[in-house]
């Protein structure tokens, strides 16, 4: 697949969306959502990252091979987080000898 040319108009729209999301994440940070605080902040951050990856980084127009590499990398990151947390978050669940 050859280069796909994204127009300045699309870039500007994505930039506007990123600005709105930045204002939103700062705004909602001043409201207490209880346990949802971190979840809301991360959902907004992930949305922004996906916009950047798909449009600014042209992944929406790139080959399947590139997408598989990116998907694999993201899975590896999720493995790192999930396995580490499955250890730390469960340490208090049971009394273990020597701890």
């Amino acid at each position: 697949m050859a280069q796909h040319i994204v127009t300045p108009k699309t870039y500007l729209q994505v930039f506007a969306a990123l600005m709105v999301l930045t204002a939103t994440t700062v705004g909602v940070a001043f409201i207490d959502w209880g346990a949802l605080n971190t979840v809301i902040a991360l959902v907004i951050a992930v949305t922004k990252a996906i916009l950047v990856v798909l449009i600014f980084m042209h992944v929406r127009y790139s080959s399947q091979l590139t997408r598989i590499v990116i998907g694999g990398g993201v899975c590896w990151l999720l493995l790192l987080i999930a396995l580490t947390l499955s250890d730390y978050l469960t340490r208090g669940w049971q009394a273990v000898m020597g701890w």
């Binding site: 280069q3 990116i70 990151l77």
Partner: protein
Amino acid sequence: MPTRHRRLTLAEHSATAHQFDDMAQQYEAGQLGMWVFLMTEIMFFGGMIIAYIVYRGAYPQSFAAGSHHLDLTLGTINTVVLIGSSLTMAMAVYAAQMGQRRTLVMYLLVTLGLGLIFLSIKAVEYASKFESQLVPGPRFHFEGDHGEHAELFFSLYFVMTGMHALHMVIGMGLMIVFAWQAWRGRFSATSNAPIEFMGLYWHFVDIVWIFLFPLLYLLGRH
């Protein structure tokens, strides 16, 4: 892989390395290679982010207290500046694809300038942390409650933002080299892959900040 039998134009021929069939294949190989590199970068920053998540889970109040000492206004301005620099980088890629040499150089220099503004604001923030003795080490001194593990928060703050800033310095070095080469006419409408691949790197640095900003600055603001 079947080879397309088409005679290359002279410009394509001189821009294609001999191990590739044509420009399209060379472009795709370069793009894939850049993404593989960025995946190793994701794991690099991922390690620091998981360390942050674990310690924040262990000492939530100390981390919230530490986060309150960061300057939210400067952090927000820097977020806007960096996302703006991603926009100008994307416009530079567009200018390269259109073969507009002067516009390309202009956008690369604007991106470089926005990067400089980001790092200057970061320097102001770092300086104020030194003044208020919030830099981890023997002189660290934290006023207020929950200070026991605030030093840990600031250690993670300096390592994460410091590594991010180092990546920006590297990106800006590349920006200077490419702006010079673009001025000399190295890139054209048919041969501009290096500009796009540097764009991928710059957008990646932007994405890292998109995660660092809420994690470090927006914690426990309510």
